[in-house]
Symmetry: C2
Subunit: 147 residues, 2 copies
């Protein structure tokens, strides 16, 4: 009763795929990019620590927030000289701006859904929202969407 479960505490790629909802190809891709790490193999199959699921949750969160995989990689690296705390704070500030833009967008859409004006663009309320949202600079800094 000692050796049949030699590495039972590790998850193989299929389990990680099932638990995370991500296709195995994506997991391999993430590993190749250095975003996650496998701890060994059983035959050909990669084995992961259970921790990888939290790692993936974090990646997913970051993606949902509009970060590139490279950005995310930079943020969750636990090695390197030191985690760049200023960078993290700057990212947080960026997200704050995005949230404000999103709020405007959401309000604009909700208004548009009820507005009687023939075209959204013709609606003064919508235009006001627009003006607030994009006041001045249309392309100030490349938000955080793309590199």
């Amino acid at each position: 009763m000692t050796q049949e479960i030699t590495q039972a505490k590790f998850l193989d790629i299929a389990e990680v795929a099932r638990l995370s909802g991500l296709p195995a190809s994506t997991l391999r891709y993430y590993e190749e990019k250095g975003l996650i790490h496998s701890v060994g193999r059983r035959g050909l199959r990669r084995l992961f620590e259970a921790q990888v699921l939290q790692h993936l949750a974090l990646i997913d969160l970051g993606r949902g927030a509009g970060f590139s995989l490279d950005d995310i990689g930079a943020m969750l690296t636990e090695r390197g000289p030191a985690i760049d705390r200023d960078r993290l704070r700057a990212k947080a500030d960026e997200i704050d701006k995005t949230i404000q833009r999103l709020s405007i967008m959401r309000d604009g859409l909700r208004h548009a859904a009820d507005c009687k004006a023939p075209s959204h663009l013709a609606c003064p309320t919508f235009q006001r929202l627009l003006r607030i949202g994009a006041s001045g600079r249309l392309r100030p800094a490349k938000t955080h969407g793309r590199s």
Copy 2:
């Protein structure tokens, strides 16, 4: 004093580019995709109504909110049987969810910037944020990022 300014109220592509900060190539691309419309030509040059600037501001807002150009096109189309108000409301709800995710991300980053734990993943506060953010479904519906 009547004909020298025949179409003076229209903007040519260079002016739109200058005023919006977008390269002309992008404006042509947007027109090709049906997101904006030119109203004619002066020689080869496209002419736009001044309104196009608000249109572009709206597109920029939508892009910043993570919508695809196709999504945006669907939202700001003023033609078709009728504007799909339910679709707009659904989009607004989606944005609300995204805002919540972003807020978690932002808080997580701010925390990480100050946290003393050796690895962010080892930090219990961060893990709790993670759990809230990705509770259950990692890839429930494909947020609004891609089609």
